[in-house]
């Protein structure tokens, strides 16, 4: 019965969305869109327009998203905090192949994540994606050995400092150019399509990447080590 209801719900929602497509997709662009598309690259000097919009025009949204992620990780850590004195079933240790693979692949994965957020203003991807890739590297370590202890002090310092740096970069824009997270005039835009270009955007993306990476790593660590109800019984 439940399955039939779910299928009916899916079909109904799909039908409604299908009807909404012409309304939701206007044929032309609005004035704001025109401004973004026409002046986005010129304003910010990056070669990735999406990055200019996400970090510069809508940078305040990004700050809010990072804060939401921080709050959710804090909430998860609060709910799933490690309870002592519970019987936890001993895991079967990972085989040597998995452990060796984890040791060998951890460094390339982290380097690749760093590549993604350092090149955020040139290629697709950015802070959030790079942070997620770095957290996946940490996840690989945890898969190979569940009892591995992460450096919590370091992670929380990185997380706090990068969040602080993000706000500082925004305030610098407020002081120099008159609006929060403004890009123009804070740092030179540099040459187009170079690694060091686009003003503060790469700095903000590196900070976001570090923040997201450390937050997701802490989340994974908290979830892996939480003693759930099943083991408590």
């Amino acid at each position: 019965m439940k399955q039939i209801i779910s299928i009916i719900a899916i079909v109904t929602i799909g039908f409604v969305l299908w009807q909404l497509v012409p309304i939701a997709m206007p044929s032309g662009f609005g004035a704001v869109t025109h401004h973004y598309v026409a002046d986005g690259l010129k304003d910010n000097g990056g070669s990735n327009l999406v990055t200019s919009i996400v970090v510069n025009y809508r940078g305040f949204d990004t700050l809010g998203e990072v804060t939401v992620l921080f709050l959710s990780v804090s909430g998860a850590a609060f709910v799933l905090r490690r309870r002592s004195g519970l019987e936890v079933q001993e895991p079967v240790p990972a085989s040597e192949i998995v452990q060796t693979g984890a040791r060998m692949l951890f460094a390339p994965i982290v380097v690749f994540g760093a590549y993604i957020f350092v090149h955020g203003h040139l290629t697709p991807g950015g802070g959030f994606q790079g942070g997620a890739v770095i957290a996946s590297g940490v996840l690989l370590l945890l898969l190979a050995n569940r009892d591995r202890a992460l450096p919590h002090g370091l992670l929380s310092w990185v997380e706090s400092l990068s969040g602080f740096g993000f706000v500082l970069a925004g305030l610098a824009g407020l002081i120099v150019a008159g609006s929060f997270l403004a890009n123009k005039g804070v740092l030179p835009l540099g040459q187009w399509n170079r690694l060091v270009s686009a003003g503060v955007i790469p700095i903000i993306y590196i900070l976001i990447g570090l923040k997201v990476g450390s937050e997701l790593s802490v989340l994974l660590d908290v979830m892996v080590h939480a003693a759930g109800d099943e083991e408590a019984n």
């Binding site: 779910s6 990055t51 697709p124 991807g125 950015g126 939480a226 109800d229 099943e230």
Partner: protein, 88 residues
């Protein structure tokens, strides 16, 4: 203008994959299977984002869907119940 190419067939098949696995993820009672279905949904959606010329979104979907969300679901299943409504 409206020439049907092989690429349209590709789009159609990938959309079919998305729909089938989304239904599977929604209705399956075994939560491990539903987790795998969800991973396939994000995989196919990521390809569709590429077809729509949105590599940024595709990369986000890839970075989150390939490893992290699947594993977070798995950990959550481990901490709770394997089969939906087992105790009823």
């Amino acid at each position: 203008m409206n020439i049907v190419t092989w690429l349209n067939l590709v789009d159609l098949l990938v959309c079919l994959v998305v729909i089938i696995s989304a239904i599977g993820a929604a209705v399956h009672r075994n939560l491990l299977a539903a987790t795998v279905f969800a991973g396939v949904v994000s995989l196919a959606i990521s390809f569709l984002f590429l077809r729509l010329a949105a590599p940024d979104v595709a990369m986000t979907e890839a970075a989150i869907g390939a490893g992290l969300s699947t594993v977070i679901f798995l950990i959550a299943v481990r901490r709770t119940e394997e089969v939906e409504g087992k105790d009823q």
